[in-house]
């Protein structure tokens, strides 16, 4: 599969490394030049493109038109939702997964905003911790 990961911080670079180890073709779109080094270390097999994921041209440069899945995992919820909207409704990507940073924003991560699967770190962690405590 061709997977486009938008956001190459801690989460994005770890995810890109994991996916390329599993044999997927991975491209990472990251806005900050400074994060590129970390990406090359964590995900040496991923193709890294520098650009803003809310800019349709940057998404095209990163190959959004040929991606099977887009994962929007930046630290900004609004940015992630602009990415999923563009990916699903403008570029026709089959599936979009998004990271939720602020639990109060979970309500927006719906098919209306192009999100097929929303992953809420705080929620996932809280449930795991609650399970461990019980």
């Amino acid at each position: 599969m061709h997977i486009l990961v938008v956001g190459g911080g801690q989460v994005g670079s770890y995810l890109a490394g994991l996916l390329s180890t599993d044999g997927h073709r991975v491209t990472v779109l990251e806005a900050r030049e400074a994060a590129v080094q970390l990406l090359h270390r964590t995900a040496p097999d991923a193709l890294v493109i520098v650009g803003d994921g809310t800019d349709p041209r940057a998404l095209e440069d990163a190959g959004v038109r040929t991606a099977d899945v887009v994962a929007a995992v930046t630290k900004s919820d609004a940015t992630n939702l602009v990415i999923t909207c563009l990916a699903r409704f403008v570029f026709g990507v089959g599936r979009a997964v998004a990271r939720v940073n602020d639990p109060h924003h979970t309500w927006m991560f719906s098919p209306t905003m192009g999100v097929d699967v929303a992953l809420n770190q705080a929620d996932v962690m809280a449930h795991l911790i609650a399970q461990a405590v019980e």
Binding site: T54, R57, L81, V82, C85, L86, V90, H104, H105, M113
Partner: protein
């Protein structure tokens, strides 16, 4: 109209005050209480402190009853997301998002988001003012007709007066050429360095500016 404004920066605050003065029921939301405190003392609208992407905040700001919404925070991504949610989730009839980046306005429109790019507007307006300052208002005849002077634009040199005439809207009343002023007819050929004295319907001023720009 019940208007909801998201973001209380210079545009949001100014827009809120303008709509409130015009008699509209205005609610303005910002996460920073200090920004809302900067509204004019007599501001008659309602203010709500909170995250513009928090559903409870939007509902408290009566988004469901709003007739129009302007998403004018400092961040393009927040404005785009808020605008799409306002249209599709809360069914607000009129929604505008301000974006700084002019590159993707067309694509955002395909997502159902009408955008205004203040940067582009500012650039165009300033360029217009810098380029067309030569249009010099001389007198107003009543409130609907103006007399303006303009140097003949280079591209109209050699063309007849009719090229600049719009019956009922724009007439070349007189031309000053070589120290003399005369009344032209439609066939009079414009020459370099002519000073044109035009009579213009006020509503056709933009039209004239466009003709002189050509």
């Amino acid at each position: 109209m019940r208007a909801l404004i998201l973001g209380c920066g210079r545009i949001g605050g100014g827009l809120a005050q303008r709509l409130a003065v015009a008699g509209h029921a205005v609610t303005i939301v910002d996460s920073d209480p200090a920004a809302l405190a900067g509204l004019p003392a007599g501001f008659s609208g309602r203010t709500v402190v909170g995250d513009v992407l928090d559903r409870r905040v939007l509902v408290a700001a009566a988004i469901e009853q709003s007739d129009g919404l302007a998403a004018v925070t400092v961040r393009d991504d927040i404005n785009l997301v808020a605008a799409r949610l306002a249209r599709l989730v809360f069914h607000v009839p009129r929604v505008i998002a301000r974006v700084y980046s002019p590159r993707a306005a067309e694509i955002y429109r395909r997502l159902g988001i009408q955008t205004v790019t203040t940067t582009t507007w500012g650039i165009n307006r300033i360029a217009e003012l810098l380029s067309y300052a030569e249009l010099e208002p001389v007198a107003s005849l009543g409130s609907d007709v103006d007399v303006v002077n303009a140097d003949v634009p280079a591209l109209l040199v050699g063309r007849p007066v009719s090229a600049l005439t719009r019956p009922g809207e724009i007439h070349v009343a007189a031309i000053s050429r070589g120290g003399k002023t005369f009344l032209p007819h439609l066939g009079t050929i414009l020459e370099a360095d002519d000073l044109l004295h035009l009579v213009v319907l006020a509503s056709a001023a933009d039209h004239l500016a466009a003709l002189l720009r050509a």
